[in-house]
């Protein structure tokens, strides 16, 4: 096997769906594409035939892929899903900001900042050690039950808060990895110019760190985009909850399929984009030589 490179002899990197062919003449490439196409069609055809010809398929189709039910369930699921999207966007903005603050606190050096660092580490360790769903239940049902004056009682608010807290802890670690990936000499150079620790973080380390961790942050986006649905356990009428309501009323599961389709419509392009960006990023780094 010769040395692998993600850039082929035409200077192209990986495409949207995987690596381009890496060697060979034009005809061989065309033949390769033909083989890939034919084998894919044959394979998928075979699997479909297996499924569709099985004895249980009519029942499955009626339960999960019923067009009539799909149309009936769609409006409610779609409007619930729109709430998912809004939750995702709002939570992501908050997470990116809060996590950055936590990561910066954690990156401060010197004994004077020990209490702050301890606080950041404790926050990260505790939150990461608890299942998200547990946090959602705790805050979403627990806090409103306290009936504290002036404290919001909305399940949506507290469910979202739980998600933001949980994801902030994970994302803070992503940022931290990025900050630590910036060379020590950059920190030294900034400090030698008289910049304080915070200025060094803000102007020198964090901007470079963020560039290094954008792929990891994008992965977090994909994950959060699905996890917002977890607030359904609080009874919040988002997409999954809407599908569940439809299911309990009709005993048909096509509503869940409608929700599945909606999630895939957002998460698959997001995942493809993440891959594309990561590959492009890697190629750029290789081009600079490090």
């Amino acid at each position: 096997m010769t040395e692998q490179s993600s850039v082929d002899r035409f200077g192209r990197g990986p495409g949207l769906f995987g690596p381009h062919r890496r060697s060979g003449l034009r005809e061989e490439g065309a033949r390769g594409a033909l083989i890939a196409f034919v084998s894919t069609v044959v394979f998928i055809g075979f699997v479909l035939w297996l499924i569709l010809s099985s004895d249980t398929w009519p029942a499955v189709q009626n339960q999960f892929f019923n067009w009539g039910h799909f149309q009936t369930a769609w409006p409610a699921v779609l409007s619930g899903f729109w709430l998912d999207i809004r939750m995702f966007l709002l939570a992501e903005v908050l997470i990116l900001a809060i996590a950055l603050i936590v990561a910066m606190i954690r990156a401060l050096r010197g004994p004077a900042f020990f209490p702050l660092r301890l606080l950041a580490v404790t926050f990260i360790d505790l939150i990461r050690g608890v299942p998200v769903i547990l946090l959602i239940l705790l805050l979403g049902f627990g806090v409103p039950a306290l009936q504290l004056p002036g404290v919001p009682r909305s399940e949506l608010f507290w469910g979202l808060t739980a998600l933001v807290i949980s994801y902030s802890a994970y994302t803070a670690e992503v940022y931290r990895a990025g900050i630590e990936s910036v060379r020590e000499s950059q920190r030294m150079s900034a400090r030698s110019l008289g910049l304080t620790q915070l200025q060094t973080l803000r102007y020198v380390l964090v901007p470079q760190a963020i560039r290094n961790v954008i792929p990891a942050l994008l992965n977090g986006f994909v994950s959060l985009q699905k996890d917002v649905a977890l607030v359904f356990v609080l009874g919040v009428r988002e997409g999954v909850r809407a599908a569940q309501i439809y299911n309990s009323r009709t005993f048909n599961y096509t509503g869940y399929i409608a929700a599945t389709v909606l999630f895939l419509l957002v998460s698959v392009p997001l995942a493809r984009f993440t891959d594309w960006y990561t590959d492009r990023d890697r190629r750029r780094k290789q081009a600079v030589g490090g």
Partner: protein, 249 residues
């Protein structure tokens, strides 16, 4: 006798129990150019980083214009605002343009407004022949250009003193001259400098005084003519002999 610009008294520094600076005494007068020579690992670089307070010293004292900068309670950021240091590996900020690299400290640390800081930076760049690189990013510059920008970055805060840490060691041979010429210009302008270097010819040419460091001690110091022609210590003689054999002097 007037107060020297920089004075080190009995400075000691260890890393993980390994003594790097044993007992360093050094006096640098106003407008003096002092070159530190010696083998790799003799402590030249550590010495400069101690003066810049990037490494805390274990014992001894360092004075800048008579003020002890190693005293407890001294804010290192304020000390660093009075001196510049330039590193072997340039260490420019890769995400900033040349202009932003140079103006970062004036604007954020010294409170200079952006137009003033930028016009001062442009002046520096023009003076040292990089006026057309204002908006370039560091990875688009040659090593020699990057190092000149790094020197200008340290000049932009009008330092009382500049520390140069092997600033030509990472450069291709053909790029060394442009950096050395810039340093000669600084000497003509009267800048006080402490220079750790492997360029013996340059040291002989530019230094008012040469200090030979060996194993964390300044073993011998004097005017370059004397150190290079008539070294007194056996270790200095050996070191210079090796340099001559390597064709570097």
């Amino acid at each position: 006798m007037s107060v020297p610009k920089l004075e080190l008294r009995n400075v000691q520094k260890a890393f993980e129990n390994k003594m790097v600076l044993h007992d360093v005494d050094l006096v640098v007068g106003h407008h003096d150019v002092v070159c530190l020579i010696g083998a790799s690992g003799s402590g030249k670089s550590t010495l400069l980083k101690c003066v810049n307070l990037l490494f805390p010293i274990d014992d001894g004292q360092i004075f800048l214009d008579g003020d002890e900068i190693t005293a407890p309670g001294v804010n290192p950021n304020q000390v660093r605002q009075r001196m510049g240091i330039v590193f072997q590996a340039f260490n420019l900020f890769p995400h900033m343009s040349v202009l932003d690299n140079i103006t970062l400290s004036p604007r954020k640390v010294h409170g200079t407004d952006r137009p003033t800081a930028e016009s001062r930076a442009r002046e520096l760049l023009d003076k040292f022949g990089l006026g057309d690189k204002v908006d370039e990013y560091p990875d688009r510059l040659s090593g020699g250009q990057q190092q000149r920008v790094a020197i200008m970055r340290s000049l932009a805060i009008d330092p009382e003193l500049i520390l140069l840490d092997e600033v030509t060691s990472a450069l291709d041979p053909e790029l060394i001259a442009e950096v050395l010429n810039l340093i000669r210009n600084l000497k003509e302008d009267g800048m006080t400098m402490v220079i750790a270097t492997h360029e013996m010819g340059f040291a002989r040419d530019v230094a008012d005084r040469v200090c030979f460091l060996d194993d964390g001690v300044i073993l011998e110091q004097g005017p370059p003519d004397r150190i290079f022609r008539d070294p007194q210590e056996a270790r200095t003689q050996q070191f210079l002999q090796r340099i001559i054999e390597a064709g570097r002097l």
